[in-house]
Amino acid sequence: MKTIFWTALEIAWSDGSMSKKGALIVEKLHDAMGLDISLREELENRFAKEILEERTERGEGTGDAELESWANTIIENLNSNDLKNQIISLSNEAVINGLSKEKWLIGMNFTKEFNQSNTFAEGVWMENNTEKEFEEYLPILKPLVDELISN
């Protein structure tokens, strides 16, 4: 499953090149996420190897427009007061659906990028509960919702 930072890299490099603006947005997102530097290094190395190495086309970094809009939404979500409760709610729901080891790792890795893996773990293991119910999850959690609940 694609994580948030991986998705950011994909959008930034969508035409085979990354613009300076795109690079700045990636940095902004990195800061907002509080992404661990060694984890970022690991992600970028893997991205370079798996995606960029094989790519031959070169564009002008036009992905930055889409990246800006998407990153703004993600940053807004990261600052949302509902984020923690939504993660707890999502993890509870995932357990109700039957959480496999594989999905546990997916959830942990996904939320780790923005320093919420502990929230996810606490939700799964019932160390933390939320009374709140959410009809809709924040866009930042959408990939995880699709992976843990919708499938």
Binding site: N92, I96, S100, E102, A121
Partner: protein
């Protein structure tokens, strides 16, 4: 709430462990199926799972943890009134007691004792008194292996010992019979032992099971008396406690790890299992950090 399929699975686990072998024809299985409205498909699934992981009864070295989880699930199902038939509840409680009693002789060195609920630790101490323990264990083994002999061996002294207990049991049995819809008499120990003929030798309404009597003997009154005796011996208690604490910390964590392994052995964890582990962490004073380390180690091991 525990999923009915898991309750059936748990009952099958402890019933088979009591019997020492897989016997899919045990009456208690059918009774639980009927009680939980489960069909043969669910039974087959549970059976298949047990056959896959049980091995020769060792459960890959996790037998005690498997049994503990099964017992917890059954107790939770009874607490949640998923099982309402008094005869079945009676049978299950006794099956659980017998299973727990079997583990008790090695409790001092066996950290699994830590997985028992606090309330159940009171009878634990009472069982350290030689005579009662021996009698109880003997009776269980006899019933399992050879019911007719057990009845001959134990029946008479018990009848002489306490008539009031006998009459109480008789009443409770009659009550149960009235609640049964068909003409099949569900006898708790018949259900557990899986042997239909042996208990039928006990002549209808006068039937009185020696195990039932012996278990009733370990009753509130007796527990209170012995607890007081233990409590009064302060020096002995003080000597024992530090040793137990020292020995149990790493063992408790190891047992918790086994429980975690067991709960996730089917690769899927559900809310009742999560709740069970959360309760155990609280009971055993295991931090969430320790739990997370164990989860990580477990996942690394499974890779």
């Amino acid at each position: 709430m525990v999923e009915p399929e898991r309750v059936l699975h748990s009952v099958m686990v402890i019933a088979f462990e009591r019997k020492g072998a897989i016997d899919e024809d045990l009456k208690i299985i059918k009774a639980i199926q009927n009680e939980l409205n489960l069909g043969d498909d669910e039974k087959s699934d549970a059976l298949e799972h047990i056959k896959k992981f049980r091995g020769n009864g060792n459960w890959d070295g996790k037998r005690d943890a498997v049994v503990s989880v099964a017992i917890d699930r059954i107790e939770e199902a009874m607490e949640d009134s998923q099982i309402n038939n008094p005869s079945i509840i009676n049978a299950l409680k006794k099956l659980i007691n017998v299973t727990l009693d079997e583990q008790k002789p090695s409790n001092e060195s066996d950290p699994l004792a830590a997985f028992e609920e606090d309330e159940e630790e009171v009878p634990d101490t009472t069982l350290k008194f030689g005579l009662e323990e021996e009698e109880e264990i003997t009776s269980v083994e006899l019933i399992e292996d050879d019911n007719s002999h057990a009845l001959e061996d134990i029946g008479e002294p018990e009848e002489v010992e306490d008539d009031s207990i006998i009459s109480q049991d008789s009443f409770s049995l009659e009550d149960s019979e009235e609640e049964l819809e068909d003409d099949e008499e569900i006898d708790p120990f018949d259900l557990i032992g899986g042997s239909g003929s042996s208990n039928s030798d006990n002549v209808g309404s006068a039937y009185k099971d020696p195990l039932e009597e012996l278990m009733d003997e370990v009753d509130d009154e007796e527990i209170q008396v012995e607890t007081i005796e233990l409590g009064s011996d302060d020096s002995e208690e003080e000597e024992k406690e530090p040793v137990k604490e020292e020995a149990s910390e790493s063992q408790i964590i190891e047992m918790y790890r086994m429980m975690l392994d067991t709960v996730w052995v089917d690769d899927v964890i559900d809310p009742s299992e999560v709740a069970l582990l959360a309760r155990k962490r609280k009971d055993l004073d295991i931090s969430f950090e320790t739990h997370m380390n164990l989860v990580r180690e477990m996942l690394e091991d499974s890779d």
